[in-house]
Subunit: 115 residues, 2 copies
DNA sequence: GTGCTGTATTCCTTGACCGGAATATAACTG
DNA sequence: CAGTTATATTCCGGTCAAGGAATACAGCAC
């Protein structure tokens, strides 16, 4: 459920901006509205999407609602990314090998099998 | 350009499936069509989006076009994710601390400062 | 209670995207 | 050259998401 909506939630630049704001600290809606330059209803709708994706939590503080990041879905993204990161590391290795020919040794965390 | 389209490119489940297929090995279009169960034009259009996002490269092999992953944008995603990963690690730390306390004395109530 | 502040939801319109069908293009074969 | 295979592009109809305006709702102050 939150798996499918997670990507689409982060596909929107405004929502990524909101998530970036909430990375610094939890914020009430009004602060997000001001920082993003969006209208209040639009901001609330984006926050709804982020909430449905499980990316943010709300805490009620008098009339204000303070939104905060929930790190769990981020870990989900990270898990998805893991196998691709390996691919990236392999390509870095190849690049490092090419650079080795001209500059000094750049140690990578993975022992390179020399054949 | 590829920055904005990177997220939207990966927002589509079919395209994530294609990327997953290309993680195993480079493949010609026909193979992707068969594996994904999409029509050939639809697959080509998705591949176009992935190519515009810089996620895949094409190599011509006779009449076939062999698509392969380009790891660079993945690293971009990873870089975006990095600050959030720290947040995740901090929350894991707090969870571990709570689990440590409850393993000592069987008490699930955390020390809440009452104000 | 009334009024005020902060936030959420609904309605509506516009624009983007997806999939299918048909067509176009490119490369090989004979 | 014509014919065939492999892939890309265009056109079209339906669906979905985004933003604005107006409104509804909740919590506080008086």
């Amino acid at each position: 459920m939150s798996d499918a909506s997670l990507w689409t939630a982060l596909a929107d630049p405004h929502r990524r901006a909101i998530v970036g704001l909430l990375l610094e600290r939890p914020r009430p809606v009004g602060e997000i509205v001001e920082a993003c330059g969006l209208s209040q209803p639009s901001t609330s709708k984006h926050l709804r999407v982020l909430r449905d994706a499980g990316l943010v939590r709300v805490r009620q503080d008098a009339q204000r609602r303070v939104y905060a990041l929930d790190p769990a879905p981020i870990a989900e993204l990270d898990a998805w990314l893991a196998p691709y990161r390996e691919l990236w590391n392999r390509s870095l290795d190849r690049l490092g090998q090419r650079l080795d020919e001209t500059s000094d040794h750049h140690d990578t965390s993975q022992p390179t099998p020399k054949d």
